[in-house]
């Protein structure tokens, strides 16, 4: 398919195998929709052998931190991240849900101290499938729906 060539980037990151419909959410949680960045490309509903339909996000001139990669895993556990240098894939890895999630997710409990005091919210993953996490502070369990709403 030619579309990959048309949208090829020299340096940057390609996030592939995002479940169809979640591409925009990936862009939002990585805050890529800001005007001062490089080119940002979203391919939605692309045919995929593995997933049927998938989304792809390409970001020019930007590389992801481990924290950002883990963040993607929470909404798109099937995603793969490709680091592109000089038009070639220099590195490729599968995202993974970490044992601990620090700083990227807010607690859904309105009475949790982490929503009122200066803290880095922290969660322990108690189940990956279905996704369930426990707040380090209030010990409340959050399930997938709440997690996605609080990312």
């Amino acid at each position: 398919m030619s579309e990959l060539k048309v949208t090829a980037i020299k340096e940057g990151t390609v996030i592939d195998h995002i479940p169809a419909g979640k591409g925009l959410k990936v862009i939002q949680i990585l805050k890529l929709d800001k005007l001062d960045g490089g080119a940002l490309l979203l391919a939605a509903n692309v045919h995929s052998k593995k997933l049927g339909k998938k989304d792809i996000v390409k970001i020019e001139g930007r590389f992801l931190s481990e924290e950002e990669v883990n963040k993607i895993a929470l909404i798109a556990p099937s995603a793969t991240v490709n680091i592109v240098r000089d038009y070639k894939v220099a590195e490729k890895f599968q995202v993974g849900i970490p044992e601990e999630i620090s700083g990227i997710l807010k607690c859904a409990n309105p009475n949790c101290v982490s929503n009122h005091e200066y803290t880095t919210p922290k969660f322990y993953v108690i189940s990956k499938e279905p996704l369930k996490v426990r707040c380090h502070y209030c010990e409340r369990t959050m399930e997938e729906k709440e997690i996605l709403a609080n990312l």
Binding site: N109, N111, C112, V113, Y137, E139, T141
Partner: protein, 308 residues
């Protein structure tokens, strides 16, 4: 081992930790009986920070510290402090730790004790954070059971009343998963133990029976732990009226119980236990209140490092 440790959640306690606290409390209770007062914490200062009032818990901690020979400073409501002026919890803790050797905190927000422990270099003991944890209550409940029976393993324990919102029964049942016990969960349909807790109990090998009929199971039980149905937890007064007074433990009901049945209650009670039960051999809820002192003495002494 224990010096500098925080006491935040019963989840953080292994069976070995629990047993160690109970053993230390037992030793202290005996020693206290012999000597009248102890001097382990002489020169040490406890700060009790009660951001919301809980007179019993505060008095129990203060009594424990005095019995250990230490002294106490603190406040019993946030409105009299700079918190009212908008001071953050972090700053309050950083300040208070300059004045004291150990902090006991009660706070309306869940997770506040955990945060306080992260901020402070001195040990922090959780005396209740919102609807989350109250680990010293659970430890004193276990201590009371152990004092009454000499063991916890092998007992049939009934938890009665508000099992849905009751923080004490949630933590107690969690702590009991370390032991070989059978749990009878007795509540109105509206106030059943949350499903995820029941599942967790079963997963961890506890035999669990759920019923709303106290009389049908009371004959089986070694311990009956009653809780108050808390009006303030109900979003709708009509719902509360439906379950209010669901269970009243009186001498009549207790005729069906084993001679050796012990009745517990975290107190305060409303009408769950008739006052005529107080003088019966079944009642150990005031002994339970007393247990708070040696258990808290143990926790204070261990975390201060003055008892090993």
């Amino acid at each position: 081992m224990w010096k500098g440790k925080d006491v935040i959640s019963i989840r953080d306690f292994s069976k070995k930790d629990i047993e160690y606290v109970l053993k230390t409390a037992e030793n202290l209770e005996h020693e206290l009986k012999e000597k009248g007062s102890l001097e382990y914490a002489k020169g040490k200062i406890l700060a009790t920070l009660f951001f919301e009032p809980s007179t019993r818990t505060r008095l129990s901690f203060e009594s424990a510290m005095h019995r250990l020979g230490g002294s106490v400073i603190g406040f019993s409501e946030a409105s009299s402090t700079s918190v009212k002026k908008g001071e953050s919890l972090r700053d309050t803790i950083k300040t208070v730790e300059q004045y004291s050797d150990v902090i006991v905190i009660r706070h309306p927000k869940e997770g506040a004790a955990r945060l306080a422990a992260e901020v402070a270099d001195i040990p922090v003991i959780n005396a209740g954070d919102g609807s989350n944890q109250h680990p010293t209550q659970t430890l004193l409940d276990l201590y009371t059971i152990k004092s009454a029976f000499g063991k916890i393993d092998g007992l049939k324990i009934g938890l009665l009343g508000d099992l849905k919102y009751g923080r004490t029964v949630h933590s107690l049942s969690e702590a009991l998963t370390h032991y070989d016990v059978e749990l009878y969960l007795i509540s109105p349909e509206l106030l059943r133990m949350p499903k995820h807790i029941v599942e967790e109990l079963k997963e961890r090998g506890i035999k669990v029976y759920e019923t709303s009929d106290l009389e049908s199971v009371i004959g089986e039980l070694d311990v009956l732990y009653a809780t108050r149905i808390q009006k303030e937890r109900f979003p709708d007064e009509q719902e509360y009226l439906k379950v209010k007074g669901s269970y009243v433990i009186d001498c009549e009901v207790l005729k069906k119980a084993k001679e050796t049945l012990k009745v517990m209650h975290p107190l305060p009670r409303v009408d769950e236990i008739h006052p005529s039960v107080d003088s019966s051999k079944h009642a150990i809820y005031f002994k339970q209140v007393f247990s708070g002192v040696p258990v808290r003495m143990a926790l204070l002494g261990l975390t201060l490092g003055v008892i090993e």
